[in-house]
Symmetry: C2
């Protein structure tokens, strides 16, 4: 047993690389399996190609814009920091972008095939859409694990283990920074196109969703891919990589001298790949209601992780581990990691309660719509706020009974399946779009609509997971910031320890500044969506005025100009909010009377308010969306009723909430918490 | 000079009592002056009487409901704490209620006379409304100063100075707890009646604001008085009393042995009365634009305070004062207090920028209304978030360059004039109602409308002040909580010091729980408004169906049943949110693995998120309101346009934001921060 323990210790990192390769190979196999299916008729392929073209055009431009910023930071790191960190930054940035690109490409392959599969049976469509999402999930997890482990292995050989771990922070920063841009740019794009298309198309001209006569319809579908697929994939790559690196960093700083501390996160990362593969296999053999099948996959993954954690924990820490002065037995460590594991389904279930149309919160919003737009909005805002309570108390409880390191690492082992579920939504959404634009029979649309509603809930619940793990990961990063400072040596050679007590006015000031960041970050993000959507509205109005034949079907709308306008607007508008956390952290670090202690307060302040705002926005947004769907199913007067009009308003308000501002808080919190580790 | 210093030291508390009496006498003189003016014709007096009757009926029932809770707490304090604290609690609770009662009575006297004065000239109406508000301002400040100083003087003689100061906390708790109920109950009442009246009256039946055919019209006007006058007066009594007591407490705990520390807050309180009187006199002699005249009063008060601070600071601290280990000269102390003084006009100006229709933020919301309800809402939500940035940075800067004790005490000296301005709004609002319902000429309504718009901005800017000073006062209370614990002696006789470091997981958990409170508190508050408004809507619909003659003017609506329904609904709905902070604090204090350290985090967490949410809600709400007014002035299509309909939605959403949930956060933050001082 001890021998096996030593084997894991020596081969833990290579083993995790092997798992990563298995995950990537499985993803490749899934792609081949997807490609074998029919991509439908001529018209479907044509639409799919148009969407793909627009998405590629956007991503190319986004890469150019972000590259300029990335190159500047790379040069600064190369000059003022060390070379390995700068190289790590580039690798992190590149992989984050690559994850986005691949996620988007696969989604476009899968959505047209999902529409085609829906014309056979619901189960086929479900599996197709899920497998498409699973490719992203496995690729992201595999890529993150592989890049971190290869970089660490090579760097450790060249500059030693300690320096290698430090330069991993560069990789984390690269991933985070890029994903802030990708999340924001994509989020602004998708919602500007969506809101713009809705405002003119649905409200002014009375067109249905995805009507090909709407000039912004292709831009809207492109948006789903660049926002929900590419942006999301970059985001989760970052979450996974940062959690992994943060866990290694804190492990090394707090458990100095114990080599298992480095290996443990890698091994857990490997387990997450294996767990995700089992989850994917489950979906491909199970039958039944879509939500049940997908939840079954989550539980399968949790079960696999729970089983594999036991031997790994016992063999890596045969004598237990001393944390904060107390020796914990292997069994205690195991149960601590179980808490994180249990938290995932618990948070998923809680978010599901607040955002699914089967429960009271969403139905309350639907009922409030009967008295008008304003009462719908008030109910939705209150619902979002209510939805923060239980998840945050859960996180608090997890911190209390365990230590956040264990919680974040075991949550990590669910990443693969969660990303797969998250990517499922936009694929079904787009499949619906393809079905409508290709005039497929109504029954096909009915299936994609049903799966789309499931996808909405999945998107919401996975966001709950993403925020909880982002919050925990950020706390881990804060922990390593404090650890770094505790070994601070002044110019005169004295060892100096910073205090972060709430009784220190500078900590309070830091909490205020940090607490402010999510507020103005989301304010700027929502403004950005408003401005970009305004540009779409003006362009669509212009086209409809110039060619009145568009509405009668005689003239063909110019989809390309809409795509072009949103692209430019989204890239222009993402700059200010994305740079905001960067500028704030640097300003606090540099401006004289502030400095390290204020910065410490800032990090925590951002986590505290960020967590609440992110949950309130993503849950509130999803609840509004599903309240509208609840009415559209024929309740409270159904489509076209007064209540429905009010519910559409709520849904539109919820759009930038749940798809732009809310989810972008995740990478923002982490950028804020990674940056100070450099200073 | 030293002799004079000794004189102030010995007679500081009696001197402040004298100032309080002068203030009360001046308020009494103002009441007589107001009464001398005409209360208009028969019809006006009749309406005024109906409103007064409804308001009295509500307040009587509210007193009964609150009394039950107050008696329970009194008994608990009497048994488990000491008798003086219990008696202090009753005095605080009684004065808070009395302030509310008096504020409401005077407002009802003044509003009908303002309507009458508006038929003479704008200046007369302005002065009448302001003097009505000033009565509340002076009464509240005088009452708070007098109750605290008399209680302290008597208690100090009976049980000694130290014990007397400790039992002052009971008085603060009494004031705070009652004002949470009064703020919430009144806030729910006023907005339920307002939203309910608007939804059926304006939207369904096309009636104008204050149309006497609307069965909810009297309830709506009663609401202005019980919410904006009575609730607000109770709230500011609490702010003033708690700031005063908090300052005394921290002064005594941190500057132990220096008797000036006790006297200083009292003397500053006395100055605030004199400053407020000068401000009131200024309004009664100045001429010009209403906003300028009112802002002139603020500056007059600031000037008086700045002048009087100099000799008082020098004579109470002739040798300066040692704060956190550094000796500060009297001049340094003086400049520290000037910072707080300057902060008041700065925060007023900032809030004015974000909420007045003359500047970009409000106009942006108005423009966003052109593309519909949803874009109006998104713009308003973003505007509220933006509005948090500068005030919070200001507060941070004030904490940085001074110590919050100085800032909160000098802000305190502006309380009288600020309350006067705050009470001005509802009086003009009601004057407009009286004018419409009594069929006064259009020109009269034009004047009251103009003053109403000024009142809206005043209400918003004074809320900015109230929140900033509440935040600082809460920090002062947190400081005294920490100080109390630093002298903590365990059962075994060891002196034990608690640590509130951000590196302690329990502090983070506390920050999360505390951060959560404002979120669910406001969520419950908004739900409460929604539910109570629903009850109004159903009743109005019932009346209009039973007596169709109401709309044609043939039947008289039953105003009384509406008043009755809102009364019951408001009192029922206020219980849960009002008890929430109480229950949370007690639960954290009592439940085993949590306790004192988590509680410390909770206190700060509530301040951090509470500050942001309160500013975002009150500023956002006022901005929505004024965006609607901006359109009604004829911009962007004016009344009846598509943009106007969207702006009305925003205004309705903003109602519970700015008048129920947002302002109720102030007393909530302070209840949360006072309670733990007991444990």
């Amino acid at each position: 047993m001890i021998l096996f323990g030593l084997t894991i210790l020596n081969s833990g990192v290579p083993l995790s690389m092997l798992c990563a390769v298995i995950g990537l190979a499985f993803a490749f196999f899934l792609i081949l399996a997807i490609m074998r299916h029919s991509s439908g008729n001529e018209r479907m392929r044509e639409i799919s190609a148009a969407v793909q073209e627009g998405a590629k055009a956007y991503l190319n431009r986004q890469v150019k814009t972000i590259s300029v910023i990335a190159v500047v930071i790379f040069i600064l790191l190369f000059i003022f920091k060390d070379h390995p960190t700068a190289i790590g930054f580039v690798i992190g940035a590149f992989c984050s972008l690559a994850a986005g690109f691949i996620g988007m490409r696969v989604a476009v392959l899968a959505n047209v095939r999902t529409a085609q599969a829906a014309s056979i049976a619901r189960l086929n469509a479900l599996r197709m859409a899920f497998n498409g999402g699973a490719v992203t999930g496995l690729l992201v997890v595999g890529l993150a694990l592989l890049s971190v482990s290869i970089f660490y292995t090579i760097a450790a050989k060249m500059i030693g283990s300690d320096a290698a771990i430090r330069s991993l922070v560069g990789l984390a920063l690269g991933g985070s920074l890029i994903s802030v841009f990708a999340r924001l740019g994509g989020g602004i794009y998708t919602k500007a196109a969506d809101v713009g298309a809705d405002l003119v198309g649905k409200i002014e001209s009375g067109l249905e969703e995805d009507d090909p006569r709407n000039p912004a319809v292709i831009a809207d579908n492109v948006g789903d891919n660049v926002g929900d697929c590419a942006g999301m994939a970059a985001d989760v790559f970052e979450t996974y990589a940062v959690s992994l690196i943060g866990a290694i960093l804190v492990g090394v700083l707090t458990l100095a001298g114990n080599p298992s501390a480095i290996v443990y996160p890698f091994v857990l990362g490997g387990i997450s790949v294996l767990g995700a593969i089992c989850g994917v296999l489950f979906v491909n053999v199970a039958r039944g209601k879509p939500v049940r099948v997908l939840m079954g996959a989550v539980l399968t993954n949790a079960l696999i992780s729970a089983i594999l954690f036991w031997p790994v924990t016992h063999r890596l820490f045969p004598a237990g581990l001393t944390i904060a002065g107390t020796l914990r037995s292997p069994a205690q460590l195991y149960f601590a990691s179980l808490v994180g594991l249990i938290m995932t389904p618990v948070i998923v279930a809680l978010t599901n309660y607040y955002t699914s149309s089967h429960y009271r919160p969403v139905q309350k919003i639907a009922h409030a719509s009967e008295t008008g737009h304003a009462t719908n909005i008030i109910a939705g805002l209150a619902a979002g706020e209510h939805a923060t309570a239980l998840p945050v108390l859960c996180i608090g409880a997890a911190i209390l009974v365990t230590f956040h390191l264990a919680a974040v690492m075991s949550m990590l082992s669910m990443a693969g399946i969660i990303i797969s579920l998250d990517s499922f939504g936009p694929i079904t959404d787009n499949a619906g779009g393809v079905a409508v634009m290709s005039n497929l029979p109504k029954e096909v649309r009915a299936i994609t609509d049903e799966l789309d509603a499931v996808g909405n809930t999945m998107k919401a619940v996975t966001k709950g997971y993403a925020i909880a793990s982002a919050g925990l990961a950020a706390l881990v990063l804060f922990g390593s910031y404090v650890q770094e400072l505790s070994q601070h040596v002044t110019a005169r050679g004295d060892v100096f320890s910073y205090q972060f007590s709430l009784t220190e006015p500078k900590v309070i000031i830091g909490l205020f500044i940090g607490g402010l960041l999510p507020f103005i970050f989301t304010a700027f993000s929502m403004d950005a969506v408003g401005k970009a959507a305004g540009a779409v509205v003006r362009e669509v109005r212009r086209q409809l005025q110039a060619k009145p034949g568009i509405l009668t079907g005689q003239d063909r709308p110019e989809y390309g100009t809409c795509v072009d306008i949103v692209t430019k607007a989204a890239l222009r508008e993402m700059i200010v909010p994305a740079l905001l956390p960067l500028v704030a952290v640097i300003a606090v670090a540099v401006v004289k009377p502030l400095g390290a202690v204020v910065l410490g307060g800032l990090l925590v302040g951002t986590i505290v308010t960020g967590l609440f705002i992110a949950i309130a926005m993503t849950s509130g947004g999803a609840a509004w969306d599903n309240a509208k769907k609840f009415i559209e199913e024929g309740n409270l007067g159904g489509k076209g009723s007064f209540a429905h009009a009010a519910a559409v308003t709520g849904d539109t308000v919820g759009d930038p909430y749940k798809d732009t501002a809310g989810p972008a808080i995740n990478p923002m919190i982490k950028v804020v918490n990674i940056l100070p580790i450099f200073f």
